[in-house]
Chain length 226, copies 2
Amino acid sequence: MSEAIIQTYTRADEAFDCLQTAIVKGDLIPGEKIGEVELCSRFNLTRGPLREALGRLESRGLLVRRPHAGVKVVSVSASELMELYRIREVMEGLAARQAAERMTDQEIADLQRTLDTHEQMIEEAQGQAYYQAEGDYDFHHRIATGSRNTKLAQMLLGDLYYMVRMYRYRLSTFTGRPHRALGEHRRIVEAIAQRDGELAEFLMKRHINAARLNIEKKIQEGELTI
Amino acid sequence: MSEAIIQTYTRADEAFDCLQTAIVKGDLIPGEKIGEVELCSRFNLTRGPLREALGRLESRGLLVRRPHAGVKVVSVSASELMELYRIREVMEGLAARQAAERMTDQEIADLQRTLDTHEQMIEEAQGQAYYQAEGDYDFHHRIATGSRNTKLAQMLLGDLYYMVRMYRYRLSTFTGRPHRALGEHRRIVEAIAQRDGELAEFLMKRHINAARLNIEKKIQEGELTI
DNA sequence: AGAGACGATATTGTCAACAATCCATCGAAC
DNA sequence: GTTCGATGGATTGTTGACAATATCGTCTCT
């Protein structure tokens, strides 16, 4: 019954979640050395589960560990962030194509309704970047799971998005092209609704490429500093 | 100044490597439940480092853990294996394109020499699948690192290849199209040498797609059972 | 004064014992 | 005979203490 839902959470899971959100939100500064005992007292944990969580986070690339030297949050350079977007481009392109082939009509309808609420949020917030970022995340999340490709969704949602979101929180000023992005989202969903996988892939790749170029331009103009 | 800095090996690293190779080589059967103490006695470890390694392996998707219930090696279905190849297709396509843009002339020359030795191995072994598999792995490994895309290489070499190799060991009979694969490898390297990233991406995607179709056909014909 | 070496200290890596939880077997009731 | 429930055993999760190692400060030598 509800037993299937109740996943008994272990201390290590708790530690993992705490650390992950702390890293993403920027509470733990990249490059800074962190002591295990400090982390334990900060999150009310003991070192056993903490070390297990550290192992998981290291394997996901969110932090690096040198034996006997401590852990530090990974610091990603601007060029590395651009590389992340290149990876997103091809992977989410695949996700969009497979989503067009496999999403149920129900899911597609939900997705379209979601875009409506996004549009409303944008108009209400009038430039507030946060909602746009959340809406964008929501959209890509649904496409990833809609691909029905377990490993693909796992890599996108478990690895890449957390690293990208790390930067969204940090440079709180988001890309700032909400209307344009929403239009691109709409066209992608349209292609998915028509079951045109090839077009969906093309549009998604172009969408992410545009976002990358936008960030790249702002960095070169000095508006964004990483 | 190379990374000759001896990274002190910790017990957890040792456990991680042992378990990973054991899973890949098939010493640990998918689906089977494994006790922690059994693993400890098998690899001469204590439970502390072992649990840390288990956390890493779980986060990489090589095994699943249910709290208080034990761990088991992940069992991937045939369709999921095909999904893995779809992911490889787009990611290695990107790797090939970036490799064409960024590999040094020296690396490309090395890569071409590597293919020569592969050809020799194939002729000598005359159908021995093992060498072909190793050569194939070697080739794709070099392309991934040659992309100079740290995260991309990490995802390919750290996640995907291990899951794919898991199956190569298990169904010891490999794809069995060594000459054809070698020819495709040669054309990819040729494109890289000419710095034609677009062509390299196209050829790499077609190469992996062909491998996927080959395996898919054999599965449908009943020659391969997963 | 600068550079290298040495040692103290604090931090990490490891271990073995304790507590919490699940699974299987056994028993009883329908 | 079958199904449901409880209890015992085994296994996992957690904890705190112990051992190994890197860093930092100090000292000496050039």
